[in-house]
Symmetry: D2
Subunit: 379 residues, 4 copies
């Protein structure tokens, strides 16, 4: 019998949104079985939650250290193979580090850590252990993001000369204008949220998307961040000039005070032979522009798409798939990697992508605090 | 511990699209566990498929009769509680009948049966048994279809005066024009597919949607069907005038030869106080028109939506959910019904909806073959 | 010096919307000069209006009979060459008849007349006189309607197998539900408006569009009209099944009670090799669907468009042109015809198109009043 | 009799696109009569063109100096009142200067001049003469741009906190990559085109739009321009950070190498109470976002729009108007100003707007050449 991969989960209990996203994604291709974890900090709630989602409570643990030590004692055929980290940001590093050290594969939410240094540290350990490590930049699993990536790598639009990424949300607007609210929201508390609010939460997605689809590295950034109120120490809006290693230039615009916007991530890439445009809120469409021909609108599920894109679609064209399906594709790729099946590295974002993300956050903050100057990212 | 509902599955093995749709939907809210079934007609393939999706093969059966008799012997706490029927149409009736007679709940794909009479028969048995019976008109689970239904029932657009439903696909186009192909496609073979191709496959969805969102019954139909070629006995295109019990009129347009269309189901309902429009291929939007105000575009997940709509959204606005999520909502509603939890009847389409669908198909064919005349549906 | 065509105008004074549309259209290509007319029934208002729009009042007349007799006395080089008829419907026939008889060219608003018989009569006279006669189905002048027409005639989508036309407006909704209002609106008064409201005003546009773009003739119609209230004698909503001379079928849906709709005319045509879709409210786009390729979105002004389409665009792609530009294209075509320059008959709708429109209205009303039966159009 | 304003035209002859745009716009409301001008540098072509568009050739002149001196001799009731300047950029200044000095009103294409200093000089003269002077930022005449401006000034979205403007074209892409072509295109020749290509041609539109709709002034700019090839001295792509006098920040993105884009100008403004978004290629729509309500999509022509917006719509909602209509609205406003009728200053862009535009271009170039640093605009 084809055994499912034994998955542990850290965080994601109660009404956690990220929790349901990962659970559904993991179950989508009958590849994983959740065998235990630490869903909530409170043990009783933890157990109650496990019952609620139908999981055997014998492998629900008090904390992640206990989980790792207890699971490590189990037989190879029983112990968790991979663990998903869905906790607040500051716990990513200690959890991932210990998991790697104890030979677990890891699926970790973004941002990878709270500092570039921590991220480098994880990378070093992973190299030694040769573990599978995915960072869940969720949107990369969409079939049409995969298609865009493949088309650019295959030269369909020629050399990239212009990149424009936007990630606009408005959810902080009703909070930011009330002193009371903005000083009590954890996302705006550096102790809880880390050095950045907007960059860490969504700017890093935009950056990852830019590097993923173009296949190029951002060399330098120049940023103007906005806190909107002097008593707010955290960026809530980011306007960032970027330059790539070739002569391509671009902009990353990321905001949590774009009032009324929901989750408006979009990326446009223009090359010498054409342009490609994609929007997260209508994810099953990809527009292909060129100098002389009609606009081509590609849709997911069609045979004209690249095999990698098609691998991410479960139903024929016209049957919309969404963000759960996108995350499901990432989990499927990780499953293949864990099982040593052939897979395309583009099936899931790697630890290296997470490291780049942390570098981006730190360099961008540095550019802003140094007076909006160019800062180089690490190679 | 919260026990998951024990689900059996008939059909949906191999590369079946409907299979993956139901499996993912059933797992979405941690409410069901697939415990066995008959996935393929061939027993070896059946077992192999069960292994592939990680299911204990001891409850994989040779055929549905065996499954029902064996499962019926099991203890109440072990036996399947509900069975999903995903087979070709002609098997729906015998399977559902036997399942009902043996006290299983049923989830059945549409069209419910191959005749109105069979459908009435199922209804009679179900009434006696008081079983839960859902017919998977998948699109009814979308949050914005639910929102549209609630807004109309709450009088937001006033008395309905005009209904326009379209369901356009183009997949038969490359088949219909080649004599060889059209005579060898099972969908165009009345012996395998039943009396109707286009009406049975998609027209019935359009009809169900019209009755669902308006809360009104279609009284009479007048249809002009197209077979396109004289040697093709089956409708591939349907243009249907409809009248409701009040003075509202409308049109159902359904086609499988709308070349290049994918799954373009859309419904517009106009009342004395406003209009509402929804499209399946962009399912998270609902347009609300009125005489004097700007168009309002509602999106899923917002607090302004009805609780029934919000119950069908797992993530905040801007995180697209698709057809798997829609089917997942139907399964969630069925789970509540099975577990005697409170639920809104609008959470899943009932056996009665399936019966109406069969009546619609037969009356429409009758209208067409009698020279495009008005035919009354049964009350 | 290139002399402008001397244009007379009947109707269109005061705040008339149709008046400004024709005036702007006529001036668009420096081809016409308005030299006089009868803008208003009241002579003083008539003169005042002429002054307001900067026209020499010596050729402002008391009524159309006087205008025709006075203008007929003028020298060939001075007299009006063509006259635009923008009055209420019932005046179209007597005006056009007299103009033709006196050797004027005519541009006439739709519907051409108030009866099919009158239309035939005009056609007979025009044949004798060999005058230029255009019926202003305004939407036919859009570049992408022209492109659609040419692509279909060139076989791009193969044999047409399905036609779907919609023309939805909602402006009657606030009127129809109040007894007082609906009995005092001239559009709903058969004495003023003729035998039909919805068909005459907009259904005829939809019908013309169907025949224009397909290049095919509608053979038979079967209609279900709605008056919504028993005391309203006029159709305000029309659902019409249509059949063409080949095996193509289709639907024309036309309504003035589609609450909240503005001027939502759209046409979709599906053939054996592809589909084409166009919408009046976003007129510079044309979608081309096919079995296997991405959707192609054509935009006006591109070199890939047919010369006839390009002739209707004044600026490069991306500079939206609208309904004034569409009407301007019709006037340009008429100018070419009057000046005996080469032109494509598709540049403006002919008297024959107007005759077909009247036949459509009468046959559709006949179908409805005879119990929703098929009625053949005249050949 | 209501005399039309006597309009002279400099440039715009032959196939000039800007020529037809201004001619149609001027004729749209029966407010102007073109009485003469210098349409082409070559006198014979000039005269031929005048004949072609039906203008008396007696007032067609050899050059603008002759035109001004000859027209100045004419009687007050005969001489040109206003002159439209449609020539290449470097002629704007000498023409406008002489026209102002000789008491003509001026309508001038953008960019106003080739330097900020020239622009200031024109402003000084205009103040003395008190002439009407419009700079044709064409897009400002769209009804929904006017609506956006009014809504923001009325506080509908609260204090502005974020501004995002995009103006993407792709027309230089097929030119820029061929050395031969890029060195022979006049737009990329600083001697003919001035110091900037992209900023001067379209960036200035984006900047004007940002200041117009927000009613705020841009304080400082920080720009990263791209020339794409080292042998190309001119900017073809511009990424510009902007800061306003309050704490609002934003980005202007302007490009002529966004391959496949046509004329994709769009502006989004977010305030403490809502957001507004508009796109030039679909100009009759305006999206209004807020924290908690459905998206509102306003359309031109509705009574809910501001009178200034409604003044710019000639037909009821659903009848698309385009760029000719937008320019027509500007000409209408100028006519009112010339005739001393009441008008809203927002009806046409002023000389001051043109001056700001030149300041923006120079400061942006300065920021880029100084190493991408903040540069203040003049007050």
């Amino acid at each position: 019998m084809n055994k499912k991969i034994r998955l542990g989960v850290l965080g994601g209990g109660g009404d956690s949104l990220i929790g349901v996203l990962h659970r559904v994604a993991s179950s989508m291709f009958s590849r994983y079985e959740i065998v235990g974890g630490v869903f909530n900090p409170d043990f009783n709630e933890n157990v109650a939650f496990a019952k609620q989602i139908g999981i055997d409570t014998t492998r629900v643990y008090e904390n992640f250290e206990t989980m790792i030590s207890e699971e490590s004692k189990l037989d190879e055929s029983q112990r968790m193979q991979v663990v998903s980290i869905l906790t607040p940001n500051f716990l990513h590093y200690p959890m991932a580090k210990k998991l790697l050290e104890n030979n677990f594969h890891v699926i970790c939410e973004k941002p990878l850590t709270t500092s570039y240094q921590e991220a480098l540290d994880l990378k070093k350990i992973q190299k030694e252990k040769n573990s599978v490590f995915a960072v869940t930049y969720t949107y990369t699993g969409y079939p049409m993001v995969r298609q865009m990536t493949k088309m650019i790598s295959q030269g369909v639009i020629g050399n990239v000369q212009k990149v424009d990424v936007q990630y606009f949300q408005g959810w902080l607007n009703p909070i930011i204008h009330e002193k009371e609210k903005r000083s009590s929201t954890w996302r705006l508390d550096p102790k809880k949220s880390g050095s950045s609010c907007c960059l860490g939460d969504i700017g890093t997605h935009a950056f990852n998307m830019a590097e993923l689809v173009t296949g190029m590295k951002v060399n330098t950034v120049l940023a103007d961040l906005n806190t909107l109120y002097d008593d707010n120490p955290m960026d809530v809006d980011a306007n960032i000039l970027i330059r790539f290693s070739n002569n391509a230039k671009g902009v990353i615009r990321s905001s949590q005070i774009a009032t009324g916007e929901e989750n408006n991530l979009r990326i446009s890439v223009y090359g010498a032979k054409g342009g490609l445009k994609w929007e997260q809120e209508n994810p099953n469409y990809l527009s292909h522009l060129s100098d002389e021909n009609p606009i081509q609108v590609l849709k997911s599920g069609h045979a004209y798409n690249d095999p990698l894109s098609l691998d991410g679609t479960k139903l024929p064209p016209g049957h919309p798939e969404g963000i759960f399906d996108s995350m499901g594709n990432i989990y499927k790729g990780v499953a293949r990697a864990i099982n040593n099946e052939p897979y395309d590295p583009a099936e899931f974002p790697s630890l290296e992508d997470g490291v780049r993300g942390m570098d981006f956050i730190e360099r961008t903050l540095e550019s802003n605090s140094n007076g909006n100057v160019w800062v180089e990212l690490n190679k």
